[in-house]
Assembly symmetry: C2
Homo-oligomer: 601 residues x 2
């Protein structure tokens, strides 16, 4: 059935053939996109990764047998065609790069026949995700996914090119490492040689890259596979890829500088987008106050306003209570949304409750200036007017207010702001707004653990000027940590690392670690630090998310060749799967009967 390609050699990919080739003979190979017989002529759209070329089979140009074969062609057959390039006889197709030419076949081989695929191979597939993922090898034929994979490959290539030029060495770090209890849940790998012992797959190369700095490699990078055994969200995968880097003898500005030049290079080369440098810097506290988020989307305004001062004397219990508890009252102005139906507002209130708010107060200002408000009856007229004024409310605006502990108010209004932007269609995928968030808090209070935990990680350097507060007011200490945010997504983050014994010791104290605990958890890194350690800092990007934004798609699965679904399984290969008992025996492990408690989801 399958013919050999012996004696034929592909001369071009489909869209590599141009008008300049008219009159010459080419050999193309690819998949039949579609095939139709019109008036005794067979027209075939031939597809390869470059695009489509129209092939004409006419008896006489091609021999009888070849013409007969052309008549049998169906979608997804793999063929080799030799033919003459001609100007298109029929209508020119301005949508195709090869729309002005076609190839008149003189030879045809059917290299591989194909069953009818379970869904058509075309852009913007409407097929169910489950089917697409089961037949991922077919889904990956679709031009939009191919474009994403090519873009991803290009991004990796350019990142590597840029970093190599900047003196970064690509160094591979191990992926069968030791499990550390800090951070997310590790994937474990049982050891056969040491039964009862386990490797862990790395959540990041963090410790190894810091060791490489101790070893004098000066500038390291790696596009590294990382692993987290967490319950998956839409934009998470059990294995993901980081652009990971670390630099010696640098401070915050050096890291930001090389990274924003890298981003500018990348966006220019791949998308033709000019990133204005320097990229805007915003402190964490400013980001929270203005946008209720440490990853603010700057493509639109709708900033938060702190109205605590304005409402501090009003009689509305919700506001009053929040302020008395040390919280705040803040709001956002949804411009032009004053006529939003009550039902829709109610949905926003529900949305806010999903983020922990007890409710959401609103003021709808009609086009005629009439004010409807959920809490008007508790407010004096002048209080209401002052509030509207503070929030720059105008006719036709909808003002939404939250009152609670400040952190909660930020979260609620930050999320609400994004939700409104979606509803108001303010998010343009072709606009790229970067911002550096800096001066993160070093520590955050964990209600669960009843202690401070590291906001980034325990090796993050405090800001020199705040070090004085580490014993007395640990929550006040800011860190030399930074995130790079693009369109409301944290695409990367990092920090300057502690390289001094005494600071590290203070940090562990603040985290409530004894010396022994610290040694147990981070022993070999602390040991390495005894032998001369340079000041160093680093940053890591989530490559998947970065590519997702560059490809302007909504799901991280659309930029990963063989992604897993929410339960961390692969619908195509059916991994994970049961294994032979013998394999487990060799590893010295056994499967235990499931207890109720362990099946919690």
């Amino acid at each position: 059935m399958a013919e050999s390609m012996k004696g034929l050699k592909r001369s071009h990919r489909c869209t590599e053939v141009t008008k300049a080739e008219i009159g010459s003979t080419v050999t193309l190979m690819g998949w039949v996109q579609k095939s139709r017989n019109k008036g005794g002529i067979v027209f075939v759209d031939l597809r390869d990764r470059s695009g489509i070329m129209q092939i004409i089979f006419e008896n006489g140009d091609i021999d009888e047998q070849g013409f007969e074969k052309a008549g049998r062609l169906r979608s997804e057959f793999v063929i080799a065609v030799k033919g003459r390039v001609e100007a298109r006889s029929g209508a020119v197709n301005p949508n195709l790069p090869t729309g002005e030419i076609e190839v008149r076949a003189i030879e045809l081989r059917i290299l591989s026949e194909a069953e009818t695929p379970p869904f058509p191979i075309e852009e913007n597939s409407k097929t169910r995700d489950e089917v697409r993922l089961k037949y991922r090898y077919l889904d990956l034929r679709r031009p939009d996914l191919q474009k994403n994979m090519m873009l991803r490959s290009q991004v990796s290539t350019l990142v590597r090119q840029f970093l190599a030029k900047e003196g970064f060495l690509e160094i591979e770090t191990p992926t069968l490492i030791k499990s550390t209890p800090e951070g997310a849940r590790d994937y474990l790998v049982p050891s056969r040689v040491h039964p009862g012992s386990f490797y862990a797959l790395p959540q990041s190369p963090q410790i190894f890259k810091q060791l490489l700095m101790c070893s004098g490699y000066d500038r390291y990078f790696q596009i590294a596979r990382c692993y987290r055994d967490e319950d998956l969200r839409a934009d998470r995968q059990p294995e993901f890829t980081q652009i990971d880097m670390e630099l010696s003898f640098v401070d915050v500005e050096d890291v930001l500088d090389v990274n924003e030049r890298m981003l500018a290079f990348l966006f220019k080369e791949v998308l033709g987008v000019e990133v204005q440098l320097p990229i805007e810097r915003m402190t964490w506290i400013d980001a929270m106050n203005r946008f209720g988020s440490d990853k603010p989307d700057l493509r639109f305004g709708m900033e938060l306003t702190d109205v605590s001062e304005v409402v501090k004397d009003c009689e509305f219990a919700v506001f009053k209570g929040a302020l008395e508890n040390g919280g705040s009252v803040r709001g956002i102005n949804a411009k032009g949304q004053g006529a939003m139906p009550r039902k829709k507002i109610d949905k926003l209130v529900e949305f806010a409750k999903g983020y922990g708010a007890k409710g959401l107060a609103y003021i709808a200002i009609g086009e005629d200036g009439t004010v409807k408000s959920s809490f008007a009856k508790f407010m004096k007229e002048e209080e209401m007017q002052a509030l509207i004024q503070a929030m720059k409310g105008e006719n036709g605006d909808l003002l939404l207010l939250a009152a609670d502990k400040t952190k909660l108010v930020w979260d609620v209004l930050g999320a609400l702001r994004l939700e409104l932007a979606k509803q108001m269609d303010l998010l343009d995928k072709n606009e790229y707004r970067f911002v550096w968030i800096t001066e993160f808090p070093l520590l955050e209070w964990s209600e669960e653990d009843e202690r401070f935990t590291a906001m980034h990680h325990p090796f993050t350097m405090p800001m020199e000027e705040d070090l004085q507060y580490i014993d007395t007011e640990p929550g006040r200490v800011r860190a030399k940590a930074y995130d790079i945010v693009l369109n409301g997504n944290e695409i990367g983050g990092g920090s300057v690392r502690i390289f001094q014994d005494d600071v590290q010791e203070k940090m562990f104290e603040a985290l409530g670690f004894t010396k022994e605990e610290a040694q147990k958890q981070f022993g070999f890194l602390l040991d390495a630090f005894k032998y001369g350690v340079p000041p160093h800092a680093g940053l890591a990007y989530g490559l998947d998310r970065l590519v997702m934004l560059m490809a302007k798609v909504d799901s991280i699965r659309d930029v990963i060749a063989f992604p897993k679904v929410k339960d961390a399984s692969c619908l195509m290969s059916e991994a994970p799967d049961i294994v032979d008992e013998k394999q487990l025996e060799e590893l010295g492990i056994a499967i235990v009967a499931q207890k109720e408690e362990t099946t919690e989801e």
Copy 2:
């Protein structure tokens, strides 16, 4: 203790400062290689990854406090130095790139102090491997290891650059995959979400890269981490790195062509070595006959001679027996080794026995032409002379002969040839001899399984002209498989893949698989093949070994930043290690008490 680098910015790495900078001020940062006080002047060799710069601290140039600090410097302290570049006041050091200049310090900061390291940081360390590996972060400071890591980084960068230009897309394939019982032993990863199920870490991206060809990606590559849970040999690691590629619409010649151009580019750019193209091609049978190995080292001759015909009528039972059993008698001529002492020859015999030989026959020809031989008494004078002539024996030569089944004879003499080359010092690490080995047997008989097994893998394409023998004489069928061999090391290998249903079916038959078994093991690849599959072929290199040869080192551990030792453990981090009981509970697995049988080594 640790000073801040605030206000200082490194201007150069040590050896980036040249004579052109004489008179200007530079700021350098790095490690103290050594420090000595001579006549009230402190001389410091400052080291960074680029090399060494001599720093002069003299009171007056630097302030009192700075000079006092300089006096305290010890090996491996990390310092920042600002100073003026001057021509060397003392003796010029022609061994250093910076040997004609020095830096007269005007400012010094001690960024990090250091304890005395457990071994000196210098080239050609004589330190025990165990200590080096425990303190790998210090070992990695040694200039020879740093050179290796930089070379490795350069190799990866250049490979990617070359392949990107040739139209290869870098596509990441998953590493949490399904376990397949074929091949080496898998590392397993227990699934938490699906208790009782496991992922496997990939031994190679083989199936995924073939799927990508089915998906139309045309040319794929990846520098991919791979895993094999096998007992380690000197040149094996549990995780290793492959340069992996696959191409569509190609045959053997296309793969060889792009790869030898890549190798030539790489060796030219990295080592300045010109690789003559095309690289020599040798069929598998020629390689075995001439060198007793499918990875022949062509840096020296000492080829095998088949003397079966010559000795077929002699009375020596060993020769006779081998020939009667369908085996052969072959020998090598160790030129100029005729005077080898008997003891040394005995050692060679023992060496041969280690490869399964029952013995080794020899003929030592004295400088005066006298012949000593272990089997002279069984031979007629003219038979002996014919044998010597057939092996081109001359005065002063040592002829070594093995008689047994041909495969064993090849193995023994192939190994002996290498051993002699080592003893005779014929192996020059600066010489690079490449050869393609082609036309491997498709199948090899497994005594253990009592069936044919795939020599490469079950998807390897048979040569068209041999397909006729697949039912009747499966052992005669040659494959479209190829290895690239460098100085006796297989650095890469691959094959054209089967893409036709009927050929694949025949292959599975030859391997003794039922259709059901084939479907169970390779199901989703076979499914993918139903929907139109292009002819495709691929190749994979062992990056670690390639870099090892390019770096001219003997151990693969010297080109891996954080290698593991023979028991697959990391001496630095002590991975693998026991984990919390809670982690195992979450995974639904338990450690079972060790049975005797499972501890076999």
